[in-house]
Subunit: 124 residues, 2 copies
């Protein structure tokens, strides 16, 4: 059976949920720049809670997109790096990030126009 | 100020949430094939609730990614189409969809390996 994201129960549907997730996107793009420690990721990705970051990292590790290396030093040092599979995703999610940054003004203009139309309609 | 998705309050961060969302991805990719009616979208995108589909379509319309055309016929006909801005997003999100379908087996193998390691560790 061919994977098909349009089927509700196809595992590829759940995978699409994972890879489109904002926290996953930001972690993957950051790790494409090089190995990062947990604290570095937490600092770079503003607004992510420790719980959400830990959950995102564990999910990405389980899915084979990143590796987690614990160095036996005091205090313990934990490094995260992108795997080859993670790199194959990187080009795509980096595109999403750039698109969001490039087109936010177009989108905001569209929202203003939409809201004005809805208001004009409601005032009738 | 340059938009920066790493800043928690940058509007581009919220836009990234929108464009990575699975329902948005599936709607955009479907509409890239041509104009669709509401009922056609609901049928094609298995598992989406009417409430979630309506909410997704309204969000995409407000953001300027799709248009909604109501035809004054009985019963009313509503068509959805991708805008130029929506088309610029399409290439990216189609890549995500294909990646999920292409790599689901790699990801499932990684998960099995991860789970086996965790189990072996717990059994010690």
């Amino acid at each position: 059976m061919q994977p098909n994201v349009y089927e509700a129960n196809c595992p590829s549907r759940q995978l699409l949920d994972r890879i489109g997730d904002t926290w996953s996107v930001l972690v993957v793009v950051t790790l494409a720049e090089g190995i990062h420690r947990y604290t570095e990721l937490a600092k770079r990705i503003e607004g992510v809670s420790p719980k959400m970051l830990t959950q995102t990292l564990r999910g990405l590790e389980r899915d084979g997109l990143i590796t987690r290396t614990v160095h036996p030093v005091v205090p313990p040092r934990v490094d995260y790096a992108l795997t080859e599979l993670g790199h194959s995703l990187y080009a795509l999610v980096e595109g999403l990030e750039k698109w969001a940054e490039t087109h936010i003004e177009d989108v905001q203009a569209a929202r203003a126009a939409y809201d004005a139309t809805v208001q004009a309609y409601s005032a009738k």
